[in-house]
Symmetry: D2
Subunit: 300 residues, 4 copies
Amino acid sequence: MSESARPAVLGQNQYGKAETRVVRITRDGAVHHLKDLSVSVALSGRMEEVHLRGSNTHVLTTDTTKNTVFAFAKQHGIASAEEFGILLARHFVSSQSAISTARIRIEEYAWERVDAPGCGTARHSFVRSGQETRTAQITFDGERLEIVAGLKGLVVLNSTGSEFHGYIKDRYTTLKETTDRVLATEVNARWRYGRTDADWDACYRGTRELLLHAFAETYSYSLQQTLYAMGSRVIGQRPEVEEIRLSLPNKHHFLVDLAPFGLKNDNEVYYVADRPYGLIEATVLREGAEPGIPVDLTNL
Amino acid sequence: MSESARPAVLGQNQYGKAETRVVRITRDGAVHHLKDLSVSVALSGRMEEVHLRGSNTHVLTTDTTKNTVFAFAKQHGIASAEEFGILLARHFVSSQSAISTARIRIEEYAWERVDAPGCGTARHSFVRSGQETRTAQITFDGERLEIVAGLKGLVVLNSTGSEFHGYIKDRYTTLKETTDRVLATEVNARWRYGRTDADWDACYRGTRELLLHAFAETYSYSLQQTLYAMGSRVIGQRPEVEEIRLSLPNKHHFLVDLAPFGLKNDNEVYYVADRPYGLIEATVLREGAEPGIPVDLTNL
Amino acid sequence: MSESARPAVLGQNQYGKAETRVVRITRDGAVHHLKDLSVSVALSGRMEEVHLRGSNTHVLTTDTTKNTVFAFAKQHGIASAEEFGILLARHFVSSQSAISTARIRIEEYAWERVDAPGCGTARHSFVRSGQETRTAQITFDGERLEIVAGLKGLVVLNSTGSEFHGYIKDRYTTLKETTDRVLATEVNARWRYGRTDADWDACYRGTRELLLHAFAETYSYSLQQTLYAMGSRVIGQRPEVEEIRLSLPNKHHFLVDLAPFGLKNDNEVYYVADRPYGLIEATVLREGAEPGIPVDLTNL
Amino acid sequence: MSESARPAVLGQNQYGKAETRVVRITRDGAVHHLKDLSVSVALSGRMEEVHLRGSNTHVLTTDTTKNTVFAFAKQHGIASAEEFGILLARHFVSSQSAISTARIRIEEYAWERVDAPGCGTARHSFVRSGQETRTAQITFDGERLEIVAGLKGLVVLNSTGSEFHGYIKDRYTTLKETTDRVLATEVNARWRYGRTDADWDACYRGTRELLLHAFAETYSYSLQQTLYAMGSRVIGQRPEVEEIRLSLPNKHHFLVDLAPFGLKNDNEVYYVADRPYGLIEATVLREGAEPGIPVDLTNL
């Protein structure tokens, strides 16, 4: 049989409802609590029939997976994104014989309370807060439960404490070395937990703080060094984290040349470029851990 | 001469550099301060030559307007978005005889400090904060200076304290009345000041807080009522504000029907729809003020 | 009464449902036709009650305006975006005594047929086409009907035939003059018709073609000149158009300096910058016409 | 040593300049040709030094990778996205001893000529065309060259010829079965070639056409079935393709319930929902091929 005559076969496949936005209000008298999630379900299993012959016998519809998200929000509440994802992932695999693996991806949007003097004891007003989005991914294959948390859109900047020099100069190199530059990035991180129960909200807050502190405290000779400092800080101080993947776009702040106007720019005026941008990505693992987080965190 | 034979003439026109992103760092020893603006310049005046004959004799290039933004950030610093805009607007009109009006639009991005324990006395680390963007528009025509401030992207939600009923029912009405709903919106506001000097940052913070408080404290029978409560609160308590325009998309939170699953939804589980959405827009003015803010705040 | 004691009053206001996406299929045997619109309704009239006291007595809900869009798509079909908007605008004003003005904004998305050999005589497969979005705005105040058509997102480029020199040089000017540059822009246009019935689809196609041809055929000494050539071409050749507003961002293509690599760049290699960008905006009118299109086509 | 005491180590890492937008003009007398690419470079190799100690000795800067893109556009031209990516990938690996693998990702934007009557024989005017973006990914590890092509943003719709029924009904199922629905999706595809030289532009055009035809010609009982028909059509008719990954969001077109208005909706009026949406993803391979394309084509 010639090479091109080999027929087509079905490979990895998954399906489900993406981006179901659910808001869950819990009332504790006049004090309300709010959880705001976007939930994406991806199921896989024995799905040859539907792909090859269009038979839906083994298909739990994406519409049903959406309904399940809403019903579970009522029945179980949303203790945390991770808890909610675990419940959903276990449900799909355990209730459907054809489904062998469920992956639940969640974005969580942060709100804080508005403390208005005229509201008395009522506490039901909120304002969206922060730039970053919290993420969680729960995967269950019937046996193993994998929990990956993360964040994206956390924009940070050091206005000094960053140098860049000593790099390779080849025929195409024009960049000038510098001993004082602005270092700014938009942190995109995912970290995998080595356990399946924890105070997930506390883990998130703790990890986020370590990332911020490591960024601020690292005197930097390259964004790679800063990235590794951030990742190893998390591995070193959060024993529940086995692995962290960081994707750090270098949000270039270039010093404006003011000399043509007879002015000196003593690291005071910068222009911010959108594109192109350096993109630094790496995984930092606990020694001996198996890497499990995909390499591509951005959809470039 | 037939109607269609009437020739073409040039009407209102303006030009300039849009979205120049400038970051200004000010060093006070180890304590750094940061201003982060996107500045858009629009100039108009005697520009028939360039439109009709391609002669650039009266054209200050958009590239030069960009350079001016950077040079002014160095020479004058950025005391506030409004002060910076005033300086730029006055400069273009006073230095170029062909330019009669300059309009400067500014977006300002908020940063807060990262207080990391290992930074010692150094204070040069920042994280982007808040969801909203502050805006300012300064227009100078050689005589009159108009200052309009604003914000966009401020997302707020009341989880109760909102009813909606008593509206017109025509042939196409299917909406059910409700005495308890979630009310959420993304505040897009511009307000015009009646004066040309003030503590602009304090004015902004004060107005933003009034908008938040009025939203939270208003028991609402319609989003129009809430909008007017927000606008009139600002007019009533900020004497420097002559007029405010609010554009409030109704970020619909619909109660999920859980009855098919044998569950009761006691105002607990909502789904959030993206489109379509109600859009409520109005101007609230101080009695006797001339309206000056354009009606279209969104680019629908 | 002191100035600040003047109370707040309600100014211009409008409301309605924005971005209702309606797809209308018409079946002509096995040949299907498709119209794909996003419709935004804005109503205004005697709305003091709802703003000041929360009474919805005069409020036709935004939900009802959405339902009306769908019902009219069934009852009347969608002959063109303009025809559909005229029907809706007339309906709201004539059927509701409190509504004095209706403004309908429409975006139309283009599709073309997929001619697949295995489809036989069936013609029900489509692919989205083109980069640009067609727009229409119909305003009816009970007497006057105003029809404004437009497009946005039409990206065009001339790889030669553009010079730029002879401009003002002030203290902040660094730009080099050039006699051969790339000229590229994303056309954002709105034009107002002087009549209320026409073959609107033919008018749109004709105007779009004139814009493209005038851009291509104009040897340019400035983007302003090109803009005016485009606008006056439309006024000159489409007698039904009274006024056109063009907003043209200069999509800068900068020549890359290859000299450091020992290479000559003979107008061959360009890098494209996102921001900042020159923004050139102007109205071209038929002599004697009253300008009616707002100045801000972009939401800067 | 306790589990948490295991130290951090560096895992997979890569870096480079992302989204360098390069436009290459080639002049053939008055006839110009244009290539418009966004190029993202990712390099990996012996990078422990820079991550762990901030030493840039082995770092070719991201700025240099950007310069190389521009210089190569001049030196070699851009025969096709794939050819250009192969040249770049080989260059980085062969010229830098520390770099062991280079991955070049490219987006290509389509333009077509504007044929204006007044241009005479000049052919230097272009308009952006099509909705979809062509993609290419070239990976070279010093030995093996992997070439993956693709497209994204190709929106297609069948207005009939689609049924959906026979699926699982569980406690959370409410969806009604249908024997005639609109099927629409935005095709996101990547396919891996089994060879390293070919007429890449012809391969792209041929594959794109097969995807369109298979979508149009398949009478569908599920989007999974349509996906597999599209993938297997490519594997069956393009011998150079070893594997294709498709990610198909179900762009839901829901029939509007017009009964409350006394109207019948005979598959004529649909509303289009943005979110949530079904997302169907699968790989189709030539029998015996090793899957090589990552599962996540979207950045959910």
